[in-house]
Amino acid sequence: MKSVVTTVVAAADAAGRFPSSSDLESVQGSIQRAAARMEAAEKLGGNLDQVAQEAYDACITKYPYLNSDGEANSTDTFKAKCLRDVKHYMRLIQYCLVVGGTGPLDEWGIAGGREVYRALNLPTAPYVEALSFARNRGCAPRDMSAQALTEYNALLDYAINSLS
């Protein structure tokens, strides 16, 4: 799973090298940024349900047609699943904050997403809207420190860009 450490280890292994000083420097960089990431992960982990709920509400507000008959948010089951999807994305973003890389989003969220949403007739725009709302909702230092918010927003941008 992609993170700072696994990236340098895979590169060293491909060349048959012991960890060199540049490898150790890379890991050192991850350690320095870890405090901000951990802060964001802690905040998001503790408030995941509320964050996901607000983001979900925002996308349904923007696209009310989704509530019409036959659309993706028309039944209770569909609504629960939409909210669950948003929650999944936020959870994977929390994992990415912990790992310090995009591995969890890549492997468990983005890979195959396009095919699934197309086959099941789920419009991408509401996902983008939910994630964009979360992206613009955060405020430093009210929610977390500025550096932590930067890490959090960068991952939301990464998820948004993968859908657009």
Binding site: V5, F18, V27, Q28, V98
Partner: protein, 184 residues
């Protein structure tokens, strides 16, 4: 391949819940510099560790370098030194990542079967790994034996904390033990 962080992520994902307890990972981050020093201590002494461990294994069992022994011609000795280095390299990766998955997946998976097919004696291999385990502990603690090293004594000079990095020594020893149990 996983590291200490993605290991926690995989565990949390099994119950589709966010990670709530970050204390152990924060401790990992706080001790990060010591970990890098420990990896450096092994990587910087790798050549000495490997040659000393293989030579020690042979001195204790001279049959290995007689005709029919598995270190007998240069070709076999070279392969043995190379294997010692490979094992130590994957252990250094595991110590850097804080997780054994890279060692398991890329080194130990199938190693016993390979050695059985080639007729490589696993008891001797285990002895070489044990010697490297002792060396790694000494280098991480920065307490190499003056009596044994003599003039070639080599200290890292890195600042070692009061407990002589006991947790990292224990972790590294665990990876060496993993190799030993995979072979036996």
């Amino acid at each position: 391949m996983l590291d200490a962080f993605s290991r926690a992520v995989v565990a949390a994902d099994a119950s589709t819940s966010p990670i709530t307890d970050l204390s152990s990972l924060k401790a990992f981050v706080a001790e990060g510099n010591r970990r890098l020093d420990a990896v450096n201590a092994i990587a910087s002494n790798a050549s000495c560790m490997v040659s000393d461990a293989i030579a020690g294994m042979i001195c204790e069992n001279q049959g290995l370098i007689q005709a029919g022994g598995n270190c007998y011609p240069n070709r076999r000795m070279a392969a043995c030194l190379r294997d010692g280095e490979i094992v130590l390299r994957y252990i250094s990766y595991a110590l850097l990542a804080g997780d054994a998955s890279v060692l398991d997946d890329r080194c130990l998976n199938g190693l016993k079967e390979t050695y059985a097919a080639l007729g490589v004696p696993t008891t001797s291999t285990v002895r070489a790994v044990q010697i490297m385990k002792a060396q790694a502990a000494a280098h991480i603690k920065d307490e190499p034996s003056e009596a044994r090293a003599g003039k070639r004594l080599r200290k890292m000079g890195s600042p070692v904390t009061g407990d002589r990095c006991a947790s990292l020594v224990a972790e590294a020893s665990g990876y060496f033990d993993r190799v030993i149990s995979a072979l036996s």
